[in-house]
Symmetry: C2
Subunit: 213 residues, 2 copies
Amino acid sequence: MAKRENISMSVIRRLPRYYRFLRQLRETGVTRISSTELSVKLGLTASQIRQDLNCFGGFGQQGYGYIVDQLCLEIGNILGLKGGYKAILVGAGNLGQAIASHMNFTEDGFELAGIFDSSPFKIGNRIGNLEVSDTSELEAFCAEQKPTMAALCVPREAVEKLSDQLYQLGIRSFWNFSHYDISVKYPDVIVENVHLNDSLMTLCYRIHNAKES
Amino acid sequence: MAKRENISMSVIRRLPRYYRFLRQLRETGVTRISSTELSVKLGLTASQIRQDLNCFGGFGQQGYGYIVDQLCLEIGNILGLKGGYKAILVGAGNLGQAIASHMNFTEDGFELAGIFDSSPFKIGNRIGNLEVSDTSELEAFCAEQKPTMAALCVPREAVEKLSDQLYQLGIRSFWNFSHYDISVKYPDVIVENVHLNDSLMTLCYRIHNAKES
DNA sequence: TAGATTGTTAATCGATTAACAATC
DNA sequence: TAGATTGTTAATCGATTAACAATC
């Protein structure tokens, strides 16, 4: 019924968590769940869960709850996990290699179509079922395959120039592991930052400041 | 002057970004900066920056701005980056290896003191200046070295049992890369989650839903 | 002193929680 | 029908922005 327009990032960030959890439930054979039960297991309020879901539609049944299987499918659709958006990964260092081989892009809505690096020590290496290509081949690759998203695992010094190039080549969304804020220069671009150092620092802050109380 | 008690996570999460940026400024030889200049470069409001900083004290000078070098140091202290909190990493797969070798724990307030895995294929491998130990040695290691934090890079099936064990061994903070929510079971524990799949899914959502508008 | 910019209070905006009528 | 639980509106809470007095 609802189908609001501007969904807040707070809501969006909770969706994968719901999805993950519902899939687990489905695997354990649970067919039905109420917002209250979910709230207990997720450490949220039932109210919030119902609000969140109702941003996209009325998926539940009054007096009954939600059908796990159905809700799972709905959230998957909302997230667009069947999108198969073509993605490339640039930077095949430790982190890039780990991301490329550890992540299941397909399950998360993407198809990893190419891996690039500028170092001769990396070019030609096989990661999963892909071979690392020279960054000089980026232009031709993008022209032909038209990837939508680029995962950036390059050092900070390299990001600015690289993001300029990729923007030129038509890429408008980034999964950015580098310590550089792309969206300051390109506000029309979708950026999901994973700043591991920042993440670790906030942990440090909390340990540091928990001690004193 | 201010020194409030309950700093919100929103503020805490911005601190590393300020810190990063100020360090860059310092490197480029900038000595002085105003909240307005900072706001432009960071894409925030000047008001927010001043509010954030004033949670911890009055670091600026009216009519002048902030001394980059000094502010940088202050934020470093607030974050507790000199803490050198002893940390271990469990799970030396693709991701664990990348985290262990790619991250500079020392710069972010930690000292990586041990890496553990249960697989015979991993045990004995050298990562940086550490050697992967058998998880069976965890108990002895923790008793002796008393690490504060554990980075978890193990598969989901293994996390619950592992976090139980580590909790028993006195660890009260986690940098968690696994798809399992530790804080539901242990609310007294400090957890920083890095859920890469969730992160990728939110990117998928935004690409998917940007198209339609 | 005049100009600039902070620190801080007040106003606004948004997100979460509570309440309850609708309804399965 | 009675019980349960949703969908949705209203109340609360917190975070961001605006404004301005203090002061370097």
